[in-house]
Symmetry: C2
């Protein structure tokens, strides 16, 4: 039950109505990319003195007139220029002291983008891709948020065809396998991998070959379905 107008309980414990509006809410996006056979995360230099020289996730406060998804898409659009990306809510973090400037509850989303298909405005904000394996100390509780999102994506990557959002439109099975290995952190048997992928019926053979590779070129494939913004919304609504 939500109650705004019925504050009997609250009043009896000396909490005034306006106190309930002393909590701010933000979204933080764990933006995954994939390049040079490594999983990357997009981070920005923290703008808080407490965390000077630390990196943090991309996020912002939620505005009174936008819903959570809209806020996430806004952040992604502002930072990456993309607005047709895969985005999924993961978890909400609300510890009392997670933000040094006050009470901020944050809703974490993960996002998957094709790192080579976007051109960041890297000019005046310190925005950079970091290898997952290099990330150590993040500002706030962003390390926890990142770990939680990574765990979620690992769970989902074999269940739903989300992974293709990290790849260019055309890709070889070798590239796909290397990406899976980066995400899961294990090596996969090539033949078993190809069997499993073909069973899942997620990719379409394009009848084209790689070019500009220093070895025998492989066949190119594309994703059969691409889970993106619109599809994600439909999916949520269908839960009703």
């Amino acid at each position: 039950m939500d109650k705004l107008l019925n504050l009997k309980t609250a009043e009896s414990e000396k909490v005034s109505h306006s106190d309930y509006f002393r909590i701010a809410i933000s979204v933080d996006c764990v933006i995954f990319g994939y390049d040079k056979k490594e999983l990357k995360i997009l981070l920005i230099k923290s703008d808080l003195a407490e965390f000077s020289d630390l990196w943090s996730l991309l996020g912002d406060l939620v505005r009174p007139n936008e819903d959570l998804e809209t806020a996430s898409y806004r952040i992604l659009k502002e930072r990456t220029g993309l607005d047709d990306v895969y985005l999924e809510q993961v978890y909400t973090f609300g510890s009392l002291n997670r933000h040094p400037s006050g009470r901020v509850i944050t809703v974490a989303y993960y996002s998957l983008v094709d790192i080579n298909h976007l051109h960041l405005k890297l000019t005046h904000n310190e925005l950079h891709w970091h290898r997952l394996t290099d990330i150590k100390n993040l500002a706030f509780d962003h390390q926890l948020i990142l770990n939680t999102c990574l765990q979620r994506i690992r769970e989902q990557v074999m269940e739903k065809p989300v992974i293709f959002n990290l790849l260019p439109e055309k890709f070889s099975l070798r590239e796909l396998q290397e990406l899976y290995q980066s995400i899961l952190g294990v090596n996969l048997d090539r033949r078993n991998f190809r069997k499993k992928i073909s069973l899942k019926d997620w990719v379409v053979d394009l009848d084209e070959m790689e070019s500009d590779v220093p070895h025998r070129p492989g066949k190119l494939y594309k994703a059969k379905v691409q889970l993106r913004k619109k599809q994600a919304k439909k999916r949520l609504q269908s839960q009703l």
Copy 2:
């Protein structure tokens, strides 16, 4: 990135600092129980005129000095008297118009309680257990929240030993199977079920028998591990 003190972006779009504190945050608990071979949900009569005669989930606004889990436990304690329950965050709902009285973002939790081991204060608040199959129109977006939590519990019930929170301490394998069937909405083969449970190593044979049953009594078991409040906290922290 969270920003409270750096509101350049916001100001340039005519959003003042105080606007960010016009969003309230609540938690809503989907409290599952199990009785008479049916899955039940604990609901309360909505106290909003807009939703008169509709039932709603148990929830309340989050206080400025409590974190999300604390708020959920407080609600459970207030309503059910229990404070050692299994509780898990599921999803956060933040549509603009989900609450008729203003902007309220709510974090949904599901909870599993032993329905026969608690004595509700059913006196002056209209608080009742409802059969899952009877629930039709809930207040707010609570039907969506319920469906989302139900989906989550269905995903988790074969993965983690959470289900025992719905049962009394001692139970027979038949009771356990019937509970699984209620949650999953399917019938299970008895022999396969028993094989699978014994493989999972979640239960301990108590060397006791059912009594007061109008048929041949079965063996009684108890849960080997009980995921409850303290364990849940440890689990979250270990993600760090």
